[in-house]
Amino acid sequence: MPFAENIGASTLDGLAYLGGLAKLGVSAARAIVQDIFERRRLAYGRAMHQAMAVGIGSLPILSLITFFIGTILALQSAYELRKFGALQFVADAVAISVSRELGPLITAILVIGRSGSSFAAELGTMKVNEELDALETMALDPVRFLVAPKLLSMLLMMPCLTIWADFMGVIGGAVFGIAAADFTFKTYIIATLNALALRDIVTGLIKSVMFGLVITTVGCQEGLRTGLGAEEVGRSTTSAVVKSIFLVIMVDLVFTTMFYLGIS
């Protein structure tokens, strides 16, 4: 039965891929812990450099996108809420949607486009240029030297970016609230703070850390598995983006389900 065999083979391939990601993540995490205990100056420097690239470099575009998302969410919520004369709940709808779901998700998708793809392209190019071989022959572990700083920077920067995305989303919603729903800036912020529970923010931040783990491991694994030739770097980069988006949505589904079941 070729159909059943194909499904079986694809499932095994998928599991092997996830196993590879887990192995890479564990190796990188172990390297981070070792570097912290051994106080290696080089690893800190590279992690800081990566953090600047992942975090600070993303801020302008992330601010703009999440601001617009906040406004769009307010408009969409208002479309239904005004039928019930409940426009004052726009702030609640925006705050909860952004902090629990769209803040982390939009941040993740933006970081995939900016950093996940660049991780794959960077490592892929290094492989094609024999730089990974050079690292190995210098007794430097590519995972410790290249993947660990990326993972550390991503685990630190994703929650920070998500908090900023939440904030900008709320500001975007406030623009609508002030313009069309009788809010002042102060009353909108108070309504937002009243609507949010700490749990809403924390669930978003937990997701953002998991997304950071997925984006780094997928980007780096695709880069490290690049074949020979420049066109392979392009293939790895595309593959990193597509697989990262798919896995981030999967992780989002799993965690959202867990949080939902946990609440109920």
Binding site: N129, E131, T137
Partner: protein, 281 residues
């Protein structure tokens, strides 16, 4: 103990070889690339591994530096059998060898100085000021004085190779490996790289192993040569011995005689498969 063979006994010579290769087989999957390679490299000599495309010379180099694992055989370096070493032992050994890759393989995100400093930062406890001095010394040795702050992308092909040599020399290795040092360079720059290799050998007495197919360069720098063909050693000897060889494959390679043109389909299949193909029914 198999992994601590006495390489001098194996050679039967008074001088212990720096590197001893015995019956080395290397495969990629089902396909065997090297079919039982054996030769020695004496301390302080320059051995050039010659061969055409697909002869297995790059695979041999990658195996000697631990980037490929052999299917069987022994490679004895510093009294240890590389084929039976653990990852930890490899990491220790790699601090005593240097490799200059065909493309240079400098890290594009680091300056030339940072590239040379990297092994020192990672494997020594030297303070930054000492490392800076050592980087300058190494760059001076390869004729790149004052290029510490340049990015690799700002260097010409020949300068990249020189910088790669400086990085390979950073830890004062006992053996230096070169993969196609003259590839992609114009004759004048390539001659400069050859002179650099001769200078390093003379000044530091380093054992040098070079993989190349550039005949002029090979005859200039080599003490001895190993000619590979389709994964087998065809000839080992001094430059004079190879020049005097009457072996048909040696002569074909040294006299740059093209392979006979293939006009018959059956011959082409035979060339591809290496077997006698059956004629189509």
């Amino acid at each position: 103990m198999a992994d601590e063979l006495n390489a001098a006994d194996a050679l039967g010579s008074a001088q212990a070889p720096a590197l001893s290769i015995r019956n080395l087989h290397v495969s990629y999957g089902e396909r065997e690339i090297l079919h039982g390679i054996s030769f020695d490299v004496l301390a302080g000599e320059t051995v050039v591994i010659l061969g055409g495309s697909g002869s297995g010379k790059s695979t041999l180099l990658r195996t000697l530096v631990g980037l490929e694992r052999p299917t069987s055989g022994d490679v004895i370096l510093r009294g240890k059998n590389l084929c039976a070493m653990t990852e930890v032992e490899w990491r220790e050994l790699r601090q005593h060898i240097g490799i200059s890759f065909q493309s240079g393989a400098l890290f594009g995100s680091m300056t030339v100085g940072e590239n040379v400093a990297l092994p020192l930062l990672e494997h020594t406890q030297l303070d930054p000021a000492t490392i800076e001095i050592m980087v300058r010394l190494k760059l001076n040795e390869v004729g790149l004085n004052g290029y510490e702050d340049y990015m690799p992308a700002q260097l010409s092909g020949g300068m990249k190779k020189r910088a790669a040599v400086a990085r390979a020399m950073a830890m004062d290795p006992e053996i230096l490996f070169f993969d196609e040092p003259s590839a992609g360079l114009d004759p004048i720059i390539a001659a400069g790289i050859d002179q650099l290799l001769l200078k390093l050998k003379e000044a530091f007495g380093i054992t040098i192993i070079v993989v190349t197919h550039e005949l002029a360069s090979a005859f200039l720098i080599a003490d001895r040569m190993v000619l590979l063909d389709k994964g087998h050693i065809v000839a080992v000897g001094t430059t004079a011995e190879l020049q005097a060889s009457t072996h048909p494959r040696v002569r074909q390679f040294l006299d740059r005689v093209a392979e006979p043109e293939i006009s018959q389909e059956i011959d082409y299949l035979q060339m591809l498969t290496g077997e006698v193909a059956r004629p189509r029914q």
